[in-house]
Point group: C2
Chain length 320, copies 2
């Protein structure tokens, strides 16, 4: 057996955020309902002494040659050292023997891509058909990738970028306009962004809600993907109550780490909601009408990691 | 930063089962009580479809430059393919930045060594001073290593090896006599082994008790290290009840995965027992008398992985 040690640069060459990758992640969502996937709860380690956290995710998907174990460290003092906060790697073990097939030293790149691709899947199935305006909240790597992901599945008329730091929103909008060729502008008012958009993607690590329920309007889809830790919260609890449809990626995770946690803490959403994979597989009809208000709450799942890692390995084999 | 990708052969060159390694693991047990160690519950994934399981352990020890994330796959159909069941690797992340410092492709070697070294720590603190006879139950890699570990901390007069398969016990005894220079023999009767020994180490994956409480006798120490999954059990529940002292490595783990689980299922051991690290740090006096009957129940901890991985990296730096 060849064991691959793969660096980030090589992974960037073979895996990008495109429709192929979106299809890979869409199939991972399907597998979650249609196959006997084994996906244990996230191993989450808080390291307050060094202002850090480490998450470990994994999932075994029957029929795949291998399965990934993904280690995601977030060390939030890193920017003061000139380093990115988020890093990490993926290990791929043989599904037949458990032997190490590959170590993907991606520094979080594959996680970024599979997270954005899940946003594309959510937008594909839940956003209104016509997205005149996309509002991206947040100005980091994931804000850029989510805009790119949305543009893969909808014809976006214009992009509005909101950030806590307006200057960063200006830079982000300028870069998006250049890379996607879609008119993009920074906005200072989050309310304006939500009220005037048909698709909103929140990508922040906020601990306080950014989106008020009074801003929701017919024909809106929101994907909230910033909340993946107990302390994070991007949508006011009433948003989940008031939407025509709320789905998450995994109920057990969203109840601990996602918007669902906060909503339940406010007494809403007692019964278990549908999952995005129910919509992808047709078990749930999803958006019933163009005027529906829908929300997708994505915390990130091990099946996405196994899917993107397997895809990366097959692309590497093909290019070898 | 140099990032190390280290193969098993190189790890075997720099890390062995010796008093240096026992000291490294003893200090890990100390750290558990004396420092603000962060050690989350084991991530355990059962894969019945392929007769396999994967465990992931980690621990952050303040003052260490890095911390290990250890992936231990057990694929129990492997022997039919001519492969070992147990494999795996350790990732070492910087404790300051979370960046990957090393990937130790040890195929489980460091786990074998740190597990045996914990047995040495248990024997050092809990076995009677004079161990005329050591009985090893089981005939695999860990049976051999536990005998070697015991011989590091006690002058062993003779070794008796018991196994389900007598032929394998004969081979194991012969190898131990050759490698350790201690008279060793296979025995067919587990009861004889326990009744005539001062130190017993059980190293099997048994699901049924191997040791009956009626066999216990004054001046006996048992280390049970085979039980690390819910279905495993090496000591009859009454052994824990009848011993003068029972300690485990981590109460929260032993209550789920160790002998403590079975004993509690039988209605014994309601209150939380001491941990081996309490004895190592002098918080618990341990054996009070040479005639005491003591038991140590070891399920394996992330602190051992971080300690042995850090030791391996420092040895590699030194040899570079």
């Amino acid at each position: 057996m060849t064991r691959h040690i793969v660096e980030e640069a090589q992974l960037r060459e073979v895996v990008g955020l495109d429709l192929t990758t979106v299809d890979v992640i869409e199939r991972a969502f399907k597998a979650l309902k249609e196959q006997a996937v084994v996906m244990p709860p996230v191993l989450s380690m808080e390291l307050p002494a060094v202002n850090a956290e480490v998450d470990i995710k994994t999932a075994f998907i029957p029929g795949f040659d291998g399965f990934a174990i993904k280690v995601s460290p977030g060390f939030f003092n890193n920017p003061s050292l000139g380093l990115a906060s988020l890093n990490g790697l993926m290990i791929v073990l043989s599904a037949k023997t458990g032997l190490v097939e590959a170590v993907l030293l991606d520094n979080g790149y594959l996680t970024d891509v599979r997270t954005a691709a899940a946003g594309a899947v959510a937008a594909k199935y839940l956003a209104p058909d016509h997205v005149g305006t996309l509002c991206v909240m947040g100005t980091g790597v994931q804000a850029r990738l989510q805009a790119q992901a949305a543009a893969l599945v909808r014809n976006i008329g214009e992009i509005k970028v909101w950030g806590r730091d307006y200057e960063k929103a200006v830079v982000c909008a300028s870069e998006l306009e250049a890379s996607l060729g879609i008119p993009s502008s920074a906005i200072a008012d989050a309310e304006e962004g939500v009220r005037t958009s048909q698709l909103v993607v929140t990508t922040t690590p906020s601990a306080e809600p950014l989106v008020d329920a009074s801003w929701l309007h017919p024909g809106l889809h929101i994907t909230a993907m910033g909340s993946d830790q107990e302390a994070k919260n991007e949508l006011a609890a009433e948003c989940l109550r008031d939407a025509d449809l709320y789905v998450c990626d995994r109920v057990s995770q969203a109840a601990l780490l996602g918007e669902l946690r906060t909503a339940r803490a406010h007494g809403f959403m007692d019964s278990d909601p549908a999952e995005l994979s129910d919509v992808v597989t047709g078990r749930h009809r999803g958006r019933r009408d163009q005027s529906d208000i829908t929300i997708a709450d994505l915390t990130g799942m091990g099946v996405q990691d196994t899917a993107i890692a397997s895809h990366a390995l097959s692309m590497i084999s093909r290019s070898a």
